[in-house]
């Protein structure tokens, strides 16, 4: 078997799954759930095949599929992945079954629609990550709005409608301008095909004037910045998260936000390097504000889910900072942090959802002392919080470290200020944890809450295992993303890319190579 | 002579039109309109369009206006009410309508004054018929459909509640 149509299969399997779901009887909840889970698991297993089929030494797109689609203007059905998208696809396929399992018991109304939405969402998100045609990209980008809209609007909480509409309008505002940008780009380059456009830009066949490039960059960036969301475009996020059902939050935080940062890495940097360079300081400032601001605002939230939502603003700030530091290390870190955030925040939302299932509230005041009735849940919550606050050996640290380290090499001051966010993240997470789980049980109705069920435990174990795995064995992932990320920056090379400081200084010790300490060290390493 | 006649007919036509606007009772308005039409028929004659002139009298003044008067009588319409709910029409619409009219007059006069007038053949009716039934056969046939639709419409709209028997 070869993997030549693997990407298409990945995109359309969930679609097919959702169609199959539609054929089931609406009140047959058990089989609806089972089928949805089966489809998403099959999808996950198939996506793992990507890792095998992927050649990590090859920086450009792989497993490409290209078909003519729309004749005028020339639009192709063009799929492909590279190191940047590879793991984002897998993250998506991983989080979908988890989201399905997380809502196994908590969704009892209009079950069919719910799982259909989840699967369509999955297909849309995967489509975004694997599209190499700008039109196709945009298509998937918009398509996934609808299932998310329904997920929030139908199965959400009290203010769900406000949140759902806000989410869609916010996103749509950005994306419609991106469509304008895409078309403008098409008018300049005559193609929607990303590799073709990249080639045209690389070869200098197409050159933008500075203003045009800035506008184009802006059109793309705005859409992505809203999705990320970058301060001050973030206010849809807390509402969307607070009101969304657990699975919605998991998918929203886990993968949807990544579409924004993915877009920056995929489009903004390679296509408009000069504009990116010009605007990077401003963007970095926003990212840093986001990091600190998000953290501080989370600190004072009274709603657990809102807190996690604001923490996303902070975390994604790191990612944006990493991308716009123009340093391969930082960008790798950013990519890694995208995955981390997907896992950790996804898991946090799942945990908050489990609390919600028991108590139907997210208010921290309504909890307190929960570690006594539910020690297992408390333990996992702590574990995930620690991953989120960047404890070494857990996934969050690797990403944050790489981002900050990489950024520091380029722009010391940015990294120093951003690193303060590391302190704050400990503040809000542990404080919230304390208020939720520690102390005596404050409300009687919390006294007899059941601890994690078998299903919940297995989910939590899975997440914990991934968190640990990603914290310990990061090269398994970074080695595959390396060459693609590097290529992004190679493509930007023609613009200024300052030489890292250490590369100049490194020469210094070599002068004293015969000094005893040096020899000593070399010997030690040699062994 | 024709000049005098023109001004006389034009004055009648304008007077009729103004009267149409100023009359309170619809019947008076309708009669004013008939005056305008007749005056126009005269003008058509002056322009050498005898056929049109005849049609104007027969169809327009005769048939259409009779229909109007018939309806007015049928509905027993009285004097116009003095309601004025629409500030828009009164304060914006009317002045602008006047401006529009004046503008048209100005530009039409401005443009048309130097254009040559072309004398017409003795009797235009025959060539007119040729034109109508050859070059403009298609729209002419189309008018049959138009009239069909109108008839259908009148039937549909004015018939007594028969559909619900």
């Amino acid at each position: 078997m070869n993997a030549s149509h693997l990407l298409s299969v990945l995109v359309f399997l969930p679609m097919g799954g959702s169609l199959a779901l539609l054929l089931l009887r609406g009140d047959d909840h058990t089989w609806i759930r089972r089928l949805a889970l089966a489809v998403s698991l099959a999808e996950f297993i198939l996506s793992l095949w990507l890792i095998r089929a992927f050649d990590s030494s090859e920086p450009s797109y792989q497993l490409e599929e290209a078909r003519k689609w729309i004749s005028s203007p020339p639009i192709n059905y063009h799929l492909g992945i590279d190191g940047i998208s590879l793991f984002l696809v897998i993250l998506t396929t991983l989080l979908t079954p988890i989201a399905i399992l997380a809502s196994w018991k908590s969704i009892n109304e209009r079950v069919k629609g719910f799982f259909v939405c989840l699967l369509v969402l999955e297909a849309g998100v995967i489509g975004v990550f694997v599209s190499l045609d700008l039109f196709l990209f945009f298509l998937f980008w918009e398509i996934m709005l609808i299932p998310m809209y329904f997920l929030i609007g139908i199965w959400g909480h009290e203010r769900r409608i406000y949140a759902a509409i806000k989410f869609v309008l916010y996103t749509m505002f950005g994306s419609i301008l991106m469509l304008v940008g895409i078309l403008w780009l098409f008018n300049k380059t005559g193609s929607f095909d990303l590799p073709a456009i990249q080639a045209a830009l690389q070869s200098g066949r197409v050159v933008f004037s500075q203003n045009v490039e800035l506008l184009l960059f802006g059109a793309f960036f705005l859409a992505f910045a809203i999705k990320v969301p970058l301060f001050p475009l973030h206010t849809w996020l807390p509402d969307a998260h607070t009101e969304a059902p657990t699975a919605g939050s998991i998918m929203l935080a886990g993968v949807l936000l990544k579409m924004g940062t993915y877009g920056m890495l995929r489009f903004c940097l390679p296509l408009f390097p000069a504009a990116a360079h010009k605007l990077a300081p401003a963007i970095a400032v926003l990212a840093i504000i986001g990091i600190l601001y998000g953290a501080l605002v989370s600190l004072v939230q009274t709603d657990l889910k809102r807190l996690v939502a604001y923490s996303s603003v902070s975390h994604l700030g790191f990612v944006v900072l990493g991308i716009f530091a123009f340093n391969a290390t930082a960008a790798q870190g950013a990519l890694y942090q995208m995955l981390n955030h997907g896992i950790s925040t996804g898991a946090l939302f799942m945990l908050v959802g489990m609390l919600y299932d028991r108590r139907h509230t997210h208010e921290i005041n309504e909890f307190g002392g929960l570690a006594t009735p539910m020690p297992v849940l408390a333990a996992f919550f702590l574990f995930v919080s620690l991953s989120s606050l960047g404890l070494p050996l857990l996934n969050g640290f690797v990403g944050e470290f790489l981002i900050l380290n990489g950024t520091y090499q380029q722009h010391g001051r940015w990294a120093v200020i951003a690193a303060v966010g590391v302190i704050f993240s400990a503040l809000y997470l542990l404080w919230a944890y304390q208020r939720t789980f520690f102390g005596e049980v404050t409300l009687d109705k919390n006294r007899a809450l059941p601890d994690a069920s078998g299903r919940e435990r297995s989910l939590l174990w899975a997440m914990a295992a991934i968190i640990l795995f990603m914290g310990v064995a990061s090269p398994l992932i970074t080695s595959r993303t390396e060459s693609s990320v590097r290529q992004v920056f190679d493509q930007m090379k023609h613009s200024d890319n300052p030489q890292p400081v250490y590369a100049q200084r490194n020469a210094l010790p070599a002068v004293h190579a015969d000094s005893p300490a040096q020899a000593h060290a070399q010997e030690a390493q040699g062994r | 002579m024709t000049t005098l006649l023109f001004f006389a007919l034009a004055a009648i036509a304008v007077a009729g039109a103004v009267s149409l606007i100023l009359q309170k009772h619809p019947i008076h308005s309708a009669l004013s309109l008939i005056v305008v039409m007749v005056a126009l028929a005269g003008l058509y004659l002056l322009l050498g369009a005898e056929f049109i002139s005849a049609v104007q009298i027969i169809v327009y003044a005769g048939a259409i206006m009779v229909l109007f008067i018939f309806v007015i009588m049928l509905l027993n319409a009285g004097e116009e009410e003095r309601t004025n709910f629409s500030k828009m029409a009164a304060y914006v619409g009317l002045p602008l309508a006047a401006i529009l009219g004046a503008g048209l007059v100005y530009w039409v006069a401005h443009e048309g004054s130097n254009a040559p007038g072309v004398p017409l053949a003795e009797s235009a009716t025959r060539p007119l018929a040729m034109l109508l039934f050859q070059d403009y056969l298609f729209p002419f046939e189309l008018t049959s459909i138009l009239i069909l639709v109108a008839i259908l419409g009148a039937v549909v709209l004015a018939q007594r509640e028969k559909g619900e028997e």
């Binding site: 309008l169 | 069909l148 639709v149 559909g163």
Partner: protein, 476 residues
């Protein structure tokens, strides 16, 4: 001079429509109440035949009837839209007419005649011929608007439509008169050459534009639209908001693209009108509580979008207009048809709240309706998206960047009110019970066809857009 065989071929759709209309009028009295279905079927067959008859003009493009008509890909394209609209309108009607106790035969005849009028409008290149076509269509429309004779709203809609329509027609006519005076002809391609008085021509073109802008509901001539669309019976609204609009746009476009003076003079008028139309339509739709009226306002907004493509004044723009018209016809017709069925007897349930919880009781209907709404909103995979996409493309190609951005902003405003309906249908608890489970076959067919068409155009637009491109080339 008798019309040649070729002429007849080029006129096939109109002929079929008229013949079918007349046949129905003839047969209806004999069919009686018992065999009313015969009339239904005849009407459907007639409309279908007319749609099929589009093939003839397609194969026999050229001028017809002493150059009064110009049958080309462009007119064929518009004919196809009109034929589809007529077919769908006819298919959707029977259950509605039954429900409201309205006569069938006349309705079909009027629809078919109106369609014939639209067809003439689409292929006319002579303004007088177009005028006659326009009037056939308009008069039929006035009658259809008041087809629910007992309903004061229906009457009122008809009256407003009639009065304002005639008023606008007078402008149109005076424009034609002035154009004739300025150029000595009313045949579009000859106007430029014949013009001896450019200012008079400008005057004429301005008045012509007023008349046509009224028909397509462009601001500030759009005010009749909501009242008429709201008051008219829903299937009629479906027809009115799609067919005549497409036909009027066709004439407007033909004039705009054929007459160079029009091309240069109208640009700013269209530009301004496009902006105002979009904003007025969307902003007002925002605050509507009646779904029907909201959709009426939305059709104003869509007219604005189409005008943006006009402003591009290019082949791309023409193709975009055509594609959008097709897409728009499908989705709007679908939406109004769904509405006509769901609103219940007497169209009592038109308020947004009446649609609360629809999805839980009529999932398929809600899904269809949502699809149309999403397409109107311009979401990918639907025809509406590609339509907007082509408009964007055309406008950008002509460097109308600000217009494009304004259109973009408007799409977002528009999203709000379309989503509100979806919110009601899916996210709120039901407040009433909906019409019986059994969907009338006609309605089902229309919804299916429209939905399928919407998706098809959204996913695989090649045939249509290629055709539109060809049509645009010919028109130039």
């Amino acid at each position: 001079m008798f019309p040649s065989h070729q002429d007849m071929m080029r006129l096939a759709p109109e002929i079929v429509l008229c013949v079918a209309g007349i046949l129905i009028m003839v047969i209806e009295p004999f069919a009686g109440r018992a065999r009313r279905r015969v009339v239904d079927v005849m009407a459907a067959l007639g409309a279908a035949a007319a749609l099929a008859a589009v093939v003839f003009p397609m194969r026999n493009a050229g001028l017809a009837f002493s150059d009064l008509l110009r049958v080309d890909s462009f007119s064929v394209f518009v004919h196809a839209i009109i034929g589809t609209v007529a077919l769908l309108a006819v298919l959707a009607a029977p259950s509605y007419l039954d429900r409201e106790g309205l006569p069938h035969g006349e309705f079909y005849a009027l629809v078919l005649f109106a369609a014939a009028g639209m067809g003439v409008l689409a292929s006319a290149q002579d303004l007088i011929t177009a005028f006659v076509g326009l009037e056939i269509n308009s008069i039929a429309s006035y009658i259809l608007a008041s087809y629910r004779r007992d309903s004061p709203r229906s009457n009122e809609a008809a009256l407003k439509y009639f009065l304002l329509g005639s008023f606008a027609t007078a402008f149109f006519l005076y424009g034609v008169a002035l154009i004739y005076g300025a150029s000595g002809t009313t045949v579009l391609p000859r106007i430029d050459a014949g013009t001896i008085q450019p200012t008079l021509l400008a005057l004429g073109l301005a008045l012509l534009f007023v008349g046509l802008a009224f028909k397509v509901a462009a601001a500030p001539f759009q005010l009749w639209t909501p009242d008429v669309y709201e008051g008219a019976p829903a299937p009629v609204t479906a027809l009115l908001s799609t067919g005549p609009k497409a036909a009027a746009f066709a004439l407007l476009l033909r004039t705009y693209m054929t007459v160079e003076h029009a091309g240069s003079l109208w640009f700013w008028a269209i530009y301004i009108s496009a902006v105002v139309t979009m904003f007025v339509g969307n902003l007002t739709a925002l605050v509507q509580t009646s779904v029907k009226r909201m959709l009426a306002y939305s059709s104003i907004a869509h007219a604005g979008y189409i005008l943006v493509a006009f402003a591009a004044h290019s082949e791309l723009g023409t193709a975009a207009v055509l594609f959008y018209l097709a897409a728009y016809a499908l989705m709007k017709l679908g939406a109004f048809t769904a509405l006509s069925w769901l609103s219940g007897p007497g169209e009592r349930h038109m308020e947004l709240d009446d649609y609360a919880g629809l999805a839980s009781q009529r999932p398929v209907a809600a899904a269809c309706f949502s699809l149309f709404l999403l397409s109107l909103l311009g979401l990918p995979v639907t025809a509406g998206f590609l339509g907007k996409f082509y408009i964007f493309n055309a406008a950008l190609k002509s460097n109308l960047i600000w217009l494009t951005v304004l259109l973009a902003i408007n799409s977002v405003i528009g999203a709000y009110y379309y989503l509100r309906v979806i919110v009601a249908m899916y996210m709120r608890p039901p407040k009433r019970s909906f019409p019986p489970e059994r969907v009338p076959a006609g309605i089902a067919a229309v919804l299916t066809l429209a939905a399928a068409g919407t998706l098809f155009l959204g996913l695989y637009p090649n045939y249509v857009i290629d055709f539109a491109n060809r049509a645009a080339l010919l028109l130039k």
